[in-house]
């Protein structure tokens, strides 16, 4: 046994050293925080997650704080978590997860939430595919449509050729099924800043034939580029927040920007001049400009035929809304003020499911609040506290910077 003593100790040192190192690293952890309820119903704040950084003397560490505690990103990241997080923008959606559970085979290879349509009978997916050809300025771009008949469990697939010039790209923004016609809303965007174009490609559900591709003309007189002014128009679409479900409308946002400096044809800096909103009806093909306009730091949400724009300033949050069906318009109605929340400033907010979630600051302490958007009632207020000895609290809170709020159900 004495002969082997060195080897035994060596093996213990090798394995034990690594084990002790990892045990120590779990004990010597960065400060812990949590979101503590100070007013209202704790269940209204359970889904709130605040993200930001912990900034000691050297290096910053990204973290997330919620009612259960804090999680540092560096401790969570590993090969498995990185693989499982792939396509998170699509696969983390609750509606998409439900579709995957119900139609696992059909949902394989799908990557874009905007290309999905789901109702009781049909599940449809549309996307574009570019086939690169070297040496040519033009490559093949196809609009690909896959249709699942849920009752018959039958999948039909169609492909339609699009213009494949290399200076433009396509984005499928929305898919709707209106009276046995599949409407695929496609944005044709140019790399060099030329105006975007929207097209409604209409495919017959029963035959699979492309019936028409209708350009959506958005306020034509304003959309022409003035070369002297170097104005660019960007179009984007705003789908119903439950975007996979049927909707008769889609909203179009037009950002009019003035180019302030241009590095080359495709790279430039610009300043936003104005923002306009339009509605497009799939049934009638009508495009209407809405009375809602841009301005301030805002989050537009379109749900149940109502466009709601939450604008947050340092001291208050206001809401502008327009109902496409009833044409009811409410402009800049104050929802909440910093004073009513008992905070110094409002930093960020998001709107989800008729709830306004606000991140604000009281001095240097991050505060989160949940407000019912329809009544303005404050349902929950919580503040971030240091989960440790009081003597270290001041230093720990000074090094904490939380900038974003999100909802994780």
């Amino acid at each position: 046994m004495k002969r082997y003593l060195f080897s035994i100790l060596f093996a213990l040192f090798a394995v034990g050293g690594v084990g002790i190192g990892y045990i120590y690293s779990s004990i010597d952890h960065l400060p812990k925080y949590k979101l503590a309820t100070i007013q209202g119903n704790p269940s209204e704040g359970r889904a709130i997650e605040l993200t930001g950084h912990y900034l000691p003397i050297m290096f910053s560490d990204a973290l997330t704080v919620n009612a259960e505690g804090s999680r540092y990103n560096y401790k969570q990241n590993n090969f498995r978590s990185n693989v499982l997080d792939s396509r998170y923008w699509f696969l983390d959606d609750v509606n998409v997860q439900q579709l995957i559970t119900e139609n696992r085979q059909f949902m394989r290879g799908k990557v874009d939430r905007g290309g999905l349509y789901n109702d009781e009978k049909w599940l449809i997916y549309a996307d574009n595919t570019r086939y690169e050809q070297s040496g040519d300025s033009k490559s093949e771009v196809a609009l690909y449509v896959s249709v699942l008949n849920k009752k018959l469990n039958k999948i039909d697939e169609y492909e339609f050729e699009l213009n494949g010039e290399n200076n433009l790209y396509y984005i499928v923004s929305d898919v709707q099924l209106i009276e046995d016609q599949i409407h695929i809303l496609v944005t044709k965007a140019f790399i060099d800043g030329a105006p975007d174009h929207l097209f409604d490609y209409i495919v017959d559900l029963s035959s699979g034939l492309l019936k028409s591709s209708n350009p959506l003309i958005v306020n034509d007189s304003d959309s022409v580029n003035d070369p002297k002014e170097d104005i660019v128009h960007h179009l984007s679409t705003l789908t119903d927040s439950k975007s996979i479900a049927p909707s008769d409308y889609i909203l179009i946002t037009e950002h009019v920007e003035k180019v302030t400096s241009r590095d080359n044809e495709n790279s430039y800096a610009s300043q936003l001049i104005k923002t306009k909103y339009y509605s497009y009806s799939y049934k009638t093909g009508e495009i209407l400009q809405l009375p809602v306009t841009g301005g301030g730091i805002s989050i537009p949400i379109f749900a149940d035929n109502v466009l709601t724009k939450v604008v947050f300033y340092e001291k208050e949050i206001t809401v502008t809304s327009y109902n496409l069906v009833t044409e009811e318009f409410k402009s800049n109605e104050p929802v909440i003020t910093a004073g009513s929340l008992g905070v110094t400033s409002i930093e960020n907010s998001i709107l989800e499911d008729n709830r306004l979630y606000v991140l604000s600051e009281r001095g240097s302490t991050p505060v989160a609040a949940t407000i019912d958007i329809s009544t303005g009632e404050v349902l929950y207020i919580g503040e971030v506290v240091y989960d440790g000895p009081d003597s270290e609290a001041k230093d720990a809170m000074e090094k904490l910077h939380l900038m974003n709020i999100r909802i994780n159900r």
Binding site: S7, I57, Q76
Partner: protein, 269 residues
Amino acid sequence: MSRYLKLVHMEIHRFRYILAALMCIIAIFQITGLIRFLLRELGHRELVNDQYTLKPLSFAWTIFNTQRWFIAPMLICIAVLAIYVFLIWYRDWVGRSTFMYRLLMLPTARLHIYLAKMTAIFLFVLSMLSFQMFLLVVENIIYKLIVPADLRVDSFFSEIINSNQALEILWPHNFEQFLYVYGLGFLVIIVIFTAILLERCYRGIGILYGIVYIAACILLYILSYSLLDSYESYLYPSEMYAAVMSVCGVILICSFLLSFRLLSKKITV
């Protein structure tokens, strides 16, 4: 089991002086670099004492400013261990009375020879890691002895690891990531062991077999990894993870089985 442990003991015993030398090199380099920097930094702070308000001197900042003193000896160790992955086999064939002949004639399963060499390499790598962690503790003590209390500030363990580019790679913060990184490293060693045995069994043509075997394993691994990069992958993330792990498992099992078969039936001395 006892025969296997005795073989492990023999492998550790043979390499002990080189291991000790490597540890000494690491210690000398790192401690020298640390002391040099601290003395220079303290001298600089004395010069500018009242002119500027300087931030406290942290251990993590010290490690950050002695990158080369830390990385250079680590690279030496990695190079020596990488060479020894080959030498642990080839040294047994060198010399007039070939040691491998005696090993193969031992009244023990030849599998134990293979496992003992693999275990030895495994322990050498872990011992270098453990020594580095131990050295960080010692260096922290030296830092506290040199830097006055009013000029220093504590560093978190994660800050210390993040301060050095090599430590960040060699000591993953997440233990699961540690298993992936070093698991992949040992898979590489096992594949190399198999290639070495192919060469030893078939001599001239065996070199080609070994190279082809390594290339096939790399290709298989890259093909599985390409699944992860695919934007429109047919597989879901959980399936991709399972596929990559399965491929690694297949490579591991094939390498083991091939190695055992070569050692049992084909090896020549």
